[in-house]
Amino acid sequence: MTQPSRQPRKRIILGAYLGGVNHHTVWSAPEADSQIAFSSFRHLAQTVERGKFDFFFLAEGLAIRERLGRFFDQDVVGRPDTLPVLAALAGVTEHLGLIGTINATFNEPYELARQLSSLDHLSDGRAGWNVVTSFDAFTGQNFRRGGFLHRDDRYVRADEFLTVARQLWDSWPEDAIEADKESGRFLRPEHADAGRFAFSGKQFEIAGRFTTPRSPQGRPVVLQAGVSPHGRDFAVARADAIFSPFHRLDEAQEFYRDIQRRAARAGRPPGAVKVLPSASFVLGDTEAEAAERQREIARQQVSGRTAQILLEAVWNRDLSGYDPDGPLPDVEPDVEGPRIIQGRAVIHQDARQTAAEWRELAEAKGFSLRELAIHLFSRTEFVGTPEQVADRLDSFVQNEGSDGFILGSHLTPTGLDEFVDRVIPLLQERGAVRTEYTGTTLREHLGLPST
């Protein structure tokens, strides 16, 4: 029905993330540097600002992962706290949006809304919040109220959280502060009670005065990550953008259409909810060289041990006895027992079905355990020469796979250097990305209406 090629060209939205805690970064590479040191964050942020990216993005995890009751030691472990890093980056960048992933379950609206508003002030309007809801009792053990929220209630809380946050962000009129030294009026008389709020719901019953004057964007940009039907409805009701995991064009288009449909039903105008999948790339001077590099990177990302562990997340069994270069485990997933891997988001709801699908896939392609894991998890979606990668990114967006990408690389922190140097100019040439920042706020970068 849709004829994407006839539609006006869409500009590609670009975000960048610094590979956090996962198997995606190749920490053993000689050029790999700290995922904690501020110099790494500054390097990546300043590089992508040079490439006129829309924003810098951080993921979140609130517990150190464990396997069989012991801390993970194979992949990158340890990450900095989101908001202080973003605030510090605001000091060393000028235009780049700064989006942090922060849990709605283990935070309180009054505190988090003021932190996000503070970031918006301190960055002159560049703040964004990626709302996640993931929780489990394991993560809850790090918090004073513990794993107090039933799984079904997490979007109820997130939904109320957003309602309250908006109320707080809107509680100071834009012109509340007069600061007239002569008359001695700091607040305008008609706004003597600036910040007053009251909310009564299932999750929150709070009232008082908000501390933080209206921020440059009014409301920081809101993203949502979570793709269940519940998550999708939450996103179209509440968010400016949705962070998705779909990189195959057919899957991505289906998701994109679904979000547009749901958004329209929720009364949002077309284009109001941006769809932004995570993506990574590998470049080479020739197609063959890029493919060879990708194979090499994938083997570094997914060692035999890592492959076993990635499959353990579904099998829920110790798979260390299975040969990574041999066939898939000959047993069924243990769906009854306690989770042997703790602190990693459970993506696969139905473990038995997932295992069956993977077996089928491995058989059809002749994959070993490790080859399957590489196929599923090595995550380098755009592989080729700079021209090919530019072309594929552009056509993915023009064909309604997404509105842009949140790009990461296997190398911290210099992995996006060559993208900015070699791919961005090609995208700029074809008018797919900006050549200069035209706005100052993240909302303006993303083409979102002001609040």
């Binding site: 920490w27 053993s28 904690i36 501020f38 995890g61 609130l62 517990a63 150190i64 030691d73 194979q74 992949d75 472990v77 340890g78 990450r79 900095p80 706290d81 908001l83 202080p84 890093v85 605030a87 510090a88 605001a90 000091g91 935070n107 009054y110 505190e111 003021r114 932190q115 508003s117 503070s118 970031l119 002030h121 301190l122 960055s123 002159d124 053990q141 790090n142 918090f143 004073r144 502060i177 600061a179 030294k181 001695g184 700091f186 607040l187 305008r188 008389p189 003597a192 600036a194 910040g195 929150f204 019953e205 709070i206 009232a207 008082g208 005065r209 501390t211 933080t212 004057p213 041990r305």
Partner: protein, 412 residues
Amino acid sequence: MTSSHLPPNGSPLLDTPLHLAVALDGAGWHPAAWRESRARPDELTGARYWADLVRTAESGLLDLVTIEDALALQPTVPDGPDDRLDRVRGRLDAVLIASRVAPLTRHIGLIPTATTTHTEPFHVSKAIATLDHVSLGRAGLRAQVSRPVENAHFGRRELGEVSLADPGTPAARAFVAEHFGEAEDFLEVVRRLWDSWEDDAEIRDAATGRFIDRDKLHTVDFQGRWFSVRGPSIVPRPPQGQPPVAVLAHESLPYRLGARQADVVFVTPRDVEQARAIVAEIRAEQSAAGRERDTVHVFADLVVLLADTAEAAQERLARLDERAGAPIASDALVFAGTAAELADTLLAWQRAGLTGYRLRPAVLPDDLDAVVGRLVPELQRRGAFRTAYGEETLRSRLGLPHPANRYATPAG
């Protein structure tokens, strides 16, 4: 000229260096500060304002700045806020202000205020650890219990309604006891989380495929009356190991909290005798807590308002008080005078056992400029203050050793 200010014993250089901090809050500590000609009342939530202030403080070689905060609007009355139009209202999160200015400064310590009552110790611990990573070892934490008015912002009904209008009532006393008890547990958890990664936990051992040595990560398994926290932190051990912890204390329970959990206690004596008594009380609590070997700084807080002559300073104060409609009400002594007189006072009070001062500029940037431009050179002339930054981290500047990790296992 200089010699007349030498201490009576004639020694120009005191054995122990004087530590100097500045407390930043809004437009300054006088309620009418924002109306002064150089005040920037419409920039109080802007990054440039804070960067300018902290850079100025750094140009004066000060040990550290603190940044005030609370989870409520600024109060005029104990149970505030109120609807007054003539006072500064509105503020930003102090940890984020400190983080924002960290990469723009190189030496000065950054101690934001964080509330211990409604916040999660896990979040606060990782935020300060991150500030320490971002600032390369210059972070600290000022822990503060919240006022009753903040309860409604969090809906924790179990905390109940209490008036602090009269701090002597049994309800007010119970409130203080409860909240300081919780604060002590809070700081214990924050400190354990800072230790939950040993210094060298990240090994990046390509040969064995291990990124960390997992035996150097530790759960903290805190179980207390108010909360329990498992750990470990998600943030690797901060550069200072334990960023310095500060508390402001006005009476015995808070002194005890400071003696047990803090590295710096800010106190508010009115004269040298009171300073001596407070220091003695804190030292006694410190021994009772088994911390007599630890360095616990006691800094006196003073609101400072400086001018070229004592008369001019008094006139400034009178003018500000008149504009505010009442004399400034302060927990700390309000010092109005010349930089030389202030230097006299600081050095005289130091003999009560104080190890430093936290000066609260009455007006920003005026009194901060005077501290940096007048007081610091005056102290330097008397050999009582550093002439260059030496130490790299805030801890080392405060003479605190790199802390042992409570979970560290001897190598072997």
